[in-house]
């Protein structure tokens, strides 16, 4: 009995200690795509400043914004990373919890590569090819649809190799998948004039047609781990894989990125916006926490400094595609002043 009483007292004591302690460490949540960049800045910041190293959690863009918008105070994160822009519904949810001032900082770009093993030939795709190969329904003449019956790449378009369509990609929970659907699938979908016209009449049908990935085994959900996809591509030269540019960059000896619309997945092409499947990365700062949790302003300054996100900064080494100089200057200035988000 005595043991038990002692233990209960001990737990109670720790509870009180935990609750009373004010936070002296920045907390960051959000996208797994921004995670490698955010952590690199956090580490650099912790080593070169007098502040503690921020804690960075990888929760996914949606999960991060959910935590971020839950409220103001020590138990809620200060910054969230996102591989897409915040939605107006999320801004509303934030406002409902008293978070009215949010600063948006665009970090740079990330290209999504469609790659295969170096043992096989390089694919030269177009957005239209990607849509016809991977969408659930494809057009069968003007205004008509049919279930996707393309079995090989040669079925999609003459001139492509006669191998089975097998694409390893991220699951629906992933931000990479959202971006892929929006940029590659919808991008290809839009090239068909009558579907493009549909967007104005029936936006819902348009979206479901353009964003739905086929489920008959040609698209294989390979989990969130991009390293795994690279390994599987090496083992199966016929398969293609979808993953972030930084993984392509690190594994250039094993896999090659397909060109899309004649543009290769290179640092230069993504930076200039020529490569069509690339997206912007962001982080959002809770302005109410600035000054309360020590180091937020300094952390944001480190992130937006040229030695971090500049053309030759350490984030570029990690695979981030920097923004053009003028855009960087604009966002660095917004971040400095903690300008409110403008939807």
């Amino acid at each position: 009995m005595f043991k038990k009483t002692l233990m209960i007292a001990a737990i109670g004591g720790v509870f009180a200690a935990g609750a009373a302690e004010a936070r002296d460490q920045i907390r960051i949540v959000g996208s797994s795509t921004v995670f490698p960049f955010s952590t690199a800045v956090a580490e650099q910041f912790g080593k070169t400043s007098s502040f503690k190293t921020p804690v960075v959690e990888s929760t996914g863009s949606g999960g991060g914004l959910k935590l971020f918008c839950a409220g103001i105070g020590d138990s809620h994160p200060d910054i969230t990373n996102a591989s897409r822009r915040i939605k107006s519904s999320e801004v509303k949810k934030c406002a409902g919890n008293g978070i009215t001032n949010i600063t948006e900082v665009k970090v740079g770009y990330d290209g999504i590569a469609i790659a295969n093993s170096k043992k096989a030939g390089k694919f030269e795709l177009t957005l239209n090819d990607i849509f016809l190969a991977l969408a659930k329904d494809i057009p069968a003449g003007e205004g008509k649809l049919k279930a996707n019956d393309n079995k090989t790449w040669a079925d999609v378009r003459k001139g492509l190799p006669n191998v089975k369509i097998e694409v390893l990609g991220p699951p629906p929970t992933s931000g990479t998948r959202d971006a892929f659907a929006e940029l590659a699938l919808e991008g290809g979908c839009k090239t068909i004039p009558w579907i493009k016209a549909m967007k104005k009449k029936d936006k819902k049908a348009y979206k479901s047609l353009c964003h739905t990935v086929r489920e008959d085994g040609a698209y294989i959900e390979a989990g969130e781990n991009d390293n795994l996809i690279v390994q599987k591509l090496e083992a199966n030269p016929n398969a293609l894989g979808i993953f972030g540019y930084s993984f392509l960059d690190q594994n250039a000896d094993k896999v090659q990125g397909s060109s899309i619309g004649g543009k290769d997945v290179t640092f230069e092409n993504i930076a200039s916006g020529d490569y069509p499947v690339s997206r912007a990365l962001y982080f959002y700062v809770k302005t109410a926490h600035v000054g309360k949790v020590p180091g937020i302003a300094e952390f944001v300054a480190e992130f937006t400094s040229n030695k971090a996100w500049g053309d030759e900064g350490y984030l570029a080494d990690k695979g981030l595609i920097p923004m053009p100089k003028t855009e960087r200057a604009k966002f660095a200035n917004d971040a400095k002043e903690f300008a409110d988000l403008n939807m």
């Binding site: 001990a10 720790v14 935990g18 956090a42 960075v56 990888s58 390293n227 030759e312 350490y314």
Partner: protein
Amino acid sequence: MTDQLSNSERIQAGLARRYRAEKRFRLYGIIAVVLAVGFLAVMLSAIGARGFGAFYQTHASLEVTFDEELVKDKDWQGIVKVAMRKSFPDVKARRDKRKLYKLMSSGAGFDLQGMYKADPELLGQTRTVWLPTSDDIDMLMKGQIDRVLAEDDRRVSDKEITWVDQWIASDRIELQFNTRFFTGGDSREPELAGILGAVMGSLLSLTVCLALSFPLGVMTAVYLEEFAPKNKWTDIIEVNINNLAAVPSIVFGLLGLAMFLNFFGMPRSAPLVGGMVLALMTLPTIIIAGRAALRAVPPSIREAALGMGASPIQTVTHHVLPLAMPGMLTGTIIGMAQALGESAPLLMIGMVAFIVDVPAAFTDPATALPVQIYLWADSPERAFSERTSGAIIVLLGFLITMNIIAVFMRKSFERRW
């Protein structure tokens, strides 16, 4: 019915078949064991072969001068850069110099900072020191980057390879034991990343887990086995405890998030909360093992103690519990080993995070060993795949130690009647 066989003849006829069946059965067993051991050997050797490299890190020898101005500016990496320029005086172009600096780890400067802090006399002096190279050079030295490939296809350019070859020719680059792997916290640079933070996080969590689940588990087991009346209620409790043992661990994480974080407002990513969640998970294991150990104590011992005039509590604390203890501890250690290898429940309470500082208290943010493995496995840098296997080796080492202790305790303390 004249050719009816006698009983013994019938048995004789079937005997050979029965022997064969028996032999076959034994053979199946042996095949199963060989297969299982084979799989284990393949897994361990694959991890071992890949992870062994993590214990070694490429270092290069540089002549560094603790220049007064640079020390005053705290530009430790600048000292490294000056030393690099001195080592390769032919490199003149700005672009090439940038490449040259990248041969060394961005953490090399911190080593110099540490040296200077330990010995301020170094100011203005020149020393030859071994400093870590960048992860790409490390991979090149370990043969993970193929030199024969076209230049564009590999992370290391031809120029960098010539520089490294110059180093190799003059014996100024070598693989050294990677102490940082065991003494450092996490890092985004593979050559600087260590597992101490994760090990400490696991240790702190397990301490909390043990402090909560062991007394609670033992008390529950003793009450249910020795004192509780056998009725509908105890049956319900028993079914529920057995049920809890089979609940997937992520559910405990969700419970921890809802209860400890949202309701009690405890800190995120803290080993305290991690330990509490893991305690919920280990409790059923300890209770079930504890009850089995108590049941194994023969009733004659209880009856003898009661017959000698001992009270029920004395019977339990003086006689039954000490005899059941080895079995209970074995169950506890196995439960702890399970908790050590668990990462799913920690995801929900924010322990899957990038944390550089090594935790020292129960409320400091921390990760755990399996979480660290998961995070490294997900990193793009190739050198991290080696660290991942290295961390798995360390985790397996801990698990094997714990299980050996459990087997040893069972062998040496358990009494059989």
